[in-house]
């Protein structure tokens, strides 16, 4: 699980959302500081393109401002944010009528000046291989798996965020793991298999 589920916590999210509702830009800034990287990672893994992920994530925060008054507190703010992000990704994928292909150059070098170049390259290749495998899941399987594996959302929260049943969450998780099992056992694909 990535670092977003740590302090300051759900209460701070609610306070920030209240500020947004009251028209205070500090609320949006707080939500952005806490959630920009997790949402960017979610949209990046869903879309397979960092530039598109930035655009969609920015749209997500703008939608949060527009819909702040609609938040009813039934789900956590985190689930609500991921629900908006998941919808935005689905819209983007549907509009462009494509599956995320994760071209070779879509996975940028992570900032890590302390690591030697060869280790950075190895890390990047591993990341690319995982990202390529994720891109071959169906959109429905990918969003469930990414929310559970990388963002630590419980099944119930995922179900609420995606407006599906918990049973459907479990089924999609099973299928995603099964597909990944066979993809990973296929071995590494050629370096340029998914590019161009």
């Amino acid at each position: 699980m990535e670092a977003e589920r740590t302090s300051p916590g759900p209460e701070a999210d609610l306070e920030a959302l209240e500020l947004v509702r009251a028209g205070d830009p500090a609320g949006a800034t707080r939500l952005f500081q806490r959630w920009s990287t997790p949402l960017l990672r979610f949209t990046g893994r869903m879309l397979g393109d960092p530039a598109e992920a930035e655009e969609v994530t920015q749209d997500v925060f703008l939608k949060v401002i527009a819909r702040a008054s609609q938040y009813d507190g039934r789900a956590s703010v985190a689930s609500w944010l991921f629900a908006i992000a998941a919808n935005a990704c689905r819209d983007r994928l549907r509009r462009s009528a494509r599956r995320p292909s994760v071209p070779l150059d879509a996975v940028a070098e992570a900032p890590g000046p302390d690591l030697p170049v060869d280790l950075r390259l190895v890390e990047r290749q591993k990341r690319e291989a995982v990202r390529r495998a994720l891109s071959r899941l169906s959109d429905e399987q990918r969003e469930v798996l990414v929310l559970a594996r990388y963002h630590g959302l419980p099944y119930a929260e995922i179900a609420r965020a995606l407006s599906i049943s918990e049973g459907a969450v479990k089924t999609r998780m099973f299928r995603a793991v099964e597909t990944l099992k066979s993809l990973f056992s296929e071995g590494e694909t050629p370096w340029n298999a998914a590019s161009r």
Binding site: V20, G23, D24, P25, A28, T29, F32, S36, T37, L40, R41, G44, R45, P50, A51, E52, A53, E54, E55, T57, Q58, F61, L62, I65, A66, P103, L104, D105, A106, V107, A108, E109, A110, P111, G112, V117, R120, E123, R124, K126, R127, A129, V130, R131, L134, A148, R149, Y150, G152, P154, Y155, K170, M173, F174, V177, L180, K181, F184, W191, N192
Partner: protein, 337 residues
């Protein structure tokens, strides 16, 4: 052979991996897992998949400071807009007849003013002279402006329902005057060739991030590439910026577009040096392949030994990606000197 319990065990293992409650039969499942080889093997495979996913640490998907600054500014503006703008509603006392009279009066006044200034022609008529705009001569068009209007002497035409953003109100001064400030969006279309100074400046600005997104930057690079595909020239500012982009941009997709644009230009020592540096130093093989193409062209056009030497070194570099090496060798075989 698959165990009859495998479905339940799979659910149990997945719950364990995701931190979900394992249910009332957790102890029974755990005991079965310890005793059944097939299920233990299946569990190990699932755990391996789960562990493998951790190799994507998302380190490349962090919020950059420039994106964060742009986005927080956009969010602040959106909050101000959402909470300050009040929709305009006409007063109920205004009757349709009064509105028609006002329109007619404005039309007559406009006609009289136009006739007094000696310009009665309309677009398309013989005497029409267009107002000098950004596409005529060397007019300078400022895109950033601020104006203060005196409401007692100015009329405000809101007929096109312009979107008023960042609205702010100042309380009444000693004379009872209030102030309402806002931004309006004006759409400009700049038409020209990439070597035209105005368009070159605009493209440089967009490639530097003025468009507010990586997408806008990429599109500007595409426009430059398209313009150079037929061997067209571009301004020195664009070449310098492409070189800087190729050297320093963090996004490999952006660097790739910069390399493509440089490779398509008529070669110069500056483009050659930029491509040679990319071939030697860029971590992305797709960028290096484009650098190979550009250097091969530079070697032929400039009769340049250093380009050939750089390609030769790459072709025989054991540590280089195989595809880049083969492309370098292929390029060397085709160079005409």
């Amino acid at each position: 052979m698959e165990c009859r319990e495998s479905l339940k065990v799979r659910e149990f293992v997945l719950a364990r991996l995701t931190g979900e409650p394992a249910g009332d039969e957790a102890a029974a499942r755990a005991a079965h897992l310890a005793a059944c080889g097939a299920c233990a093997s299946m569990a190990a495979e699932m755990e391996s998949v789960w562990a493998r996913l951790a190799e994507d640490d998302g380190g490349d998907l962090a919020a950059t400071s420039s994106w964060a600054a742009r986005t927080t500014a956009a969010l602040a503006a959106e909050i101000r807009r959402a909470h300050n703008v009040r929709p305009f509603r006409p007063r109920a006392s205004e009757s349709p007849l009064l509105k028609v009279a006002a329109v007619l009066a404005a039309g007559v006044a406009g006609f009289l003013v136009a006739r007094a200034s000696g310009s009665g022609a309309v677009p398309g008529s013989p005497g029409y002279q267009p107002t000098p705009g950004p596409f005529r001569g060397a007019d300078s068009v400022s895109l950033v402006s601020s104006r203060t209007l005196d409401a007692s002497r100015s009329a405000l035409d809101l007929s096109g329902s312009p979107r008023l953003a960042n609205v702010a109100y100042a309380p009444a001064d000693a004379a009872g005057r209030v102030a309402v400030s806002f931004d309006v969006t004006t759409r400009y279309t700049v038409v020209g060739r990439p070597e035209d100074q105005a368009l070159a400046n605009l493209l440089v600005s967009l490639m530097s991030g003025a468009g507010g997104s990586e997408g806008a930057k990429g599109k500007a690079l595409d426009v430059v590439s398209e313009g150079t595909r037929g061997g067209g020239s571009v301004s020195p500012e664009i070449v310098t910026l492409l070189r800087r982009t190729l050297e320093t941009d963090r996004n490999p997709g952006v660097r790739k577009k910069a390399a493509e644009a440089l490779a398509q230009m008529p070669p110069t020592p500056e483009t050659r040096d930029a491509l040679a540096a990319a071939l030697k130093n860029d971590p992305n093989p797709a960028v290096r392949i484009l650098a190979v193409e550009g250097l091969a062209k530079a070697a032929t056009v400039l009769k340049d030994a250093s380009s050939i030497e750089t390609l030769r070194q790459k072709a025989s570099d054991d540590h280089e990606n195989g595809y880049v090496r083969s492309q370098a060798a292929l390029a060397l075989s085709k160079i005409e000197i």
